[in-house]
């Protein structure tokens, strides 16, 4: 069965520090991976997906099939990055269902 694991419930850093939010997945095929973000009092929204290979708000994520990981990174955290971050997986065929991790709350202190 497919599963997404986000080992950290809470990650606290100071402004300007590097950030890495961990995501590991289990799936025997080739997955599609996503990061969704929920800022305070806002709705869940897509941050980035691995297939686009782009940087959004300074965040990047690389799919590492050997380590089955899709960690989210940012070199210099900003206070406005404070939010709940969810990693999600989709099988590459025959489904529109996303499987979410439990989420990591990122707190960026001034």
């Amino acid at each position: 069965a497919q599963r997404v694991t986000q080992p950290e419930k809470l990650l606290s850093v100071f402004k300007g520090a590097p950030v890495e939010l961990k995501c590991n997945y289990s799936y025997s095929g080739s997955p599609e991976l996503f990061w969704y973000v929920q800022y305070s009092r806002q709705r869940l929204q897509l941050l980035l997906r691995h297939i686009s290979r782009e940087s959004i708000k300074g965040f990047t994520a690389d799919l590492n099939k050997g380590e089955t990981s899709f960690h989210l990174k940012k070199p210099f955290a900003q206070e406005e990055d404070s939010a709940m971050y969810y990693c999600a997986l989709k099988r590459t065929y025959n489904t529109d269902k996303l499987i979410f991790g439990t989420g990591t709350r990122l707190q960026v202190f001034p």
Partner: protein, 117 residues
């Protein structure tokens, strides 16, 4: 920017009662979804809906659950006889195309918090 809207924001109901959660997806979107999140747990897929029929459902989505698109704008989730364990935040989402299409992200509503007492 168009948004998915959900009503009500909070619904309290007694165990055994029927409840209908309402959603208005983004108007040009073709795919509709319900997800839920029990407090402290992960966001879980319930059902996807396309072309006026269920395209996929999870094992959570048993006979007590149903979805409907009664007109051109609303998308509803009905729980026929609520249980205590149905208490959760229910999220509606829509997308223009399926999730395999590049640049067709899920657009989520703000959620309806369902409390079953």
């Amino acid at each position: 920017e168009p948004e998915v809207t959900q009503t009500p924001s909070h619904q309290v109901t007694q165990m055994g009662q029927e409840v209908i959660l309402r959603c208005v997806p983004i108007s040009n979107h073709l795919y509709f979804y319900w997800y839920r999140q029990i407090l402290g747990q992960k966001v879980e897929f319930l059902v996807s809906f396309y072309n006026n029929e269920i395209s996929e459902k999870s094992e959570i989505f048993d006979d007590q659950f149903s979805v409907e698109r009664p007109d051109g704008s609303n998308f509803t989730l009905k729980i026929r006889s609520t249980k205590l364990e149905d208490s959760a935040m229910y999220f509606c989402a829509s997308s223009e195309f399926g999730q395999s299409t590049y640049n067709s992200p899920l657009h989520f509503g703000n959620g309806t918090r369902l409390t079953v007492t």
